[in-house]
Subunit: 401 residues, 2 copies
């Protein structure tokens, strides 16, 4: 008899009818012999509604109190799901983060799980109960309520599975992981499986069905994660250790991201100090730089380009202007029209020429590359948004996505 | 520097604007030098809405899960009030029942407080924080969330005041305790003070601004309770030990209750067994009998009358019919049109003739008494609802209410 941890997100428990549906599915699954631990999020937009009240009272609500407030959303869900299960004759008990000993550390509203008291859960499973656990929440060493930040319920589910030696099933409103965004590109294929590493790259590129923190925990503890539609009707995707079959596929996925802009600094003095000053001062403003490229020096001056999130652009421009006094009279250009295409695949490690194939495909289709970066298992390039659809279709065809 | 426990009910925190108002008042009060512990209920109709969801999922939701569900209402209120206080520069921290160690025993949805960890609160007060505590909730010895049933937040507040040696201020949507219902009788006077005993009688008669459990705790531990309007604009009423001044007033209050019906059993065999069988079988159905009267036996048969809540009448009639086989062929009459008038006053203990004065007032006004009962500090009589206003006016005049 296996222990299975399931997680249902906010849209999956948004209404009482949906909660009843989940209860029925859990009952069927339990009758097949599995021991079930179920993590649920807050119903629908509950968390947003709670935050809205807080921000109407204060522009800077205390994070400690936000955690007290937000954690109620999941608490409502666990009680209702337990009531729905008991109503159809399926024994179930609900547990808050505190009750199940989900210990956390770090800042309020973005805490990290340090331990979970598995004994409480195992005891309840032995009593033939379905154990329902509030996602997204825990307590810290001062017995204060904490929350885990974005993707928190996924993190709770994978951490529970790691602690219990269980598999983790994430039920959501998409039916698996695709080679690229299926809502925009009909040629996208659903993957049977994807490695943790590839999924992490995809998640960090904004293509993430799951938050990268949960995937990292899954990778660290070797928890098999299954992502599927919350109706359970169609096969989903496994996130797991890479295997031989995976290695044969060069490219697993293609992510498209239009949330970045590009800034180019022309005529920057060619010195380590000037370049590091630029990036240090942006880091001080908590601006995440993604792709970086640099031209070869001419007259000891270079052009430096990089991409960053759209809503950090004004802060970045102000920071760069303020630095002119200390560094020199460079010229700043911005390009707000970029789309970032990234191909990801652990096959790249063992197969050469992937970047070359990608460039020639883009060249054959008259698509200009504005900037390019590569990592061990990923190649990203920024292009004109007008070329986006043409590029995705061409790359998907070339790499059989 | 005194510790003051304040309690705000659901209507007092029903909107964000009301929460802001309370925050401003608390800030002013704190600046006067008092150390404040604040108990709040769930916002407006939140508890009803939560229960409604539970009962749409199940006709018999598990009480354990109802407690998990309902306790979220107060948790939202404490977080929001704390956020509102910190926003106006007034240090505050919120605590759930579990966090402040409100230990309970007994059944879910109607638990009783057994202890409170005062150290946590005293430590926070020493740090100059306003301590905000979720009313209505606690935990039991199994670390399960519990709730305290009707009047639960009042109970939390008075129990906290008892534990901290503090006074307790209950802020609500009425501005104090009146000699009789001021919404119906303009002659009603607001009392400066009322004894615990009198308030208990008034509360049990349905005239209760507060639930009797909270008053009992106040009496047991000698906690002065102040009941006043939540705007703080007008003086309220103290509930406290009786003093000499109180003893001089014969009657403190007049309660009117129209929620009962009267059942009369004619020709019941005059035996202890028959009478006790009647009341035992009603008790088995959890029917609360209030007033009882019995005629003198004629031919070894008596007429037995008693009052009971309207919505228990059908159950009572069925129970009584089923008993005919074992007891004998009595006749059952019902009187659904009764109003119960009760005068309450600890002065009755030392002053005789109160009942006589009441009867003669009613007689002078041609008001028939259907049934009458007396206790040490209370006289109740059931009359025709048509006579209600005339009776209240006459009694209020006679006893200067």
């Amino acid at each position: 008899m296996d222990i299975v941890v399931q997680k249902y997100g906010g849209t999956s428990v948004a209404t009482l009818d949906k909660i009843k549906d989940i209860a029925r599915r859990l009952k069927e699954r339990k009758e097949k012999g599995d021991k079930l631990v179920v993590v649920v999020s807050a119903m629908g937009k509950t968390t947003d509604d709670l935050l809205d009240m807080a921000y109407r009272l204060s522009r800077n609500p205390k994070p400690r109190e936000l955690d007290v407030l937000m954690s109620t959303g999941e608490q409502v869900s666990i009680a209702l799901l337990s009531i729905a299960l008991n109503e159809i004759g399926c024994k179930a008990r609900s547990f808050t983060g505190h009750q199940v000993g989900i210990l956390t550390e770090g800042f309020h509203t973005k805490s990290k799980i340090t331990d979970i008291n598995a004994d409480i859960i195992l005891e309840e499973l032995d009593k033939d109960n379905i154990v329902i656990v509030a996602g997204f929440q825990g307590i810290n060493e001062n017995n204060e309520i904490t929350t885990l930040g974005r993707g928190g319920s996924d993190t709770t589910a994978v951490a529970l599975a790691a602690k219990l030696g269980a598999v983790c099933e994430i039920y959501t409103d998409v039916d698996g992981i695709y080679t690229t965004d299926p809502r925009r590109y009909p040629e996208a294929r659903k993957l049977d499986s994807i490695s943790y590493e590839e999924m992490l790259e995809m998640a960090s590129l904004g293509a993430g069905v799951m938050h990268s923190r949960a995937i990292e925990i899954g990778q660290k503890y070797g928890v098999p994660i299954y992502v599927a539609l919350n109706t359970g009707d169609v096969p989903g995707t496994y996130i797991k250790e890479s295997d031989e079959k995976m290695e044969k596929t060069v490219i697993t996925g293609l992510a498209v991201d239009s949330n970045d802009v590009m800034i180019t600094i022309n005529n920057l003095p060619y010195s380590i100090k000037a370049i590091s000053d630029v990036f240090n001062s942006l880091a001080e403003k908590h601006i995440n730089i993604d792709m970086i490229s640099q031209t070869t020096p001419v007259n000891n001056l270079i052009n430096l380009s990089f991409t960053l999130p759209k809503n950090d652009m004004n802060t970045a421009l102000k920071t760069l202007k303020d630095m002119k006094k200390s560094i020199g009279d460079y010229k700043i250009e911005t390009d707000e029209a970029i789309t970032k295409l990234s191909v990801v695949g652990i096959g790249m490690r063992t197969q050469s020429g992937v970047a070359a194939r990608m460039f020639s495909v883009l060249a054959q289709n008259d698509i200009n590359i504005k900037i390019i970066t590569t990592s061990e298992i990923r190649i990203s390039c920024a292009i004109d948004p007008e070329d986006q659809d043409k590029a995705v279709t061409a790359i998907a065809k070339e790499f059989n996505l």
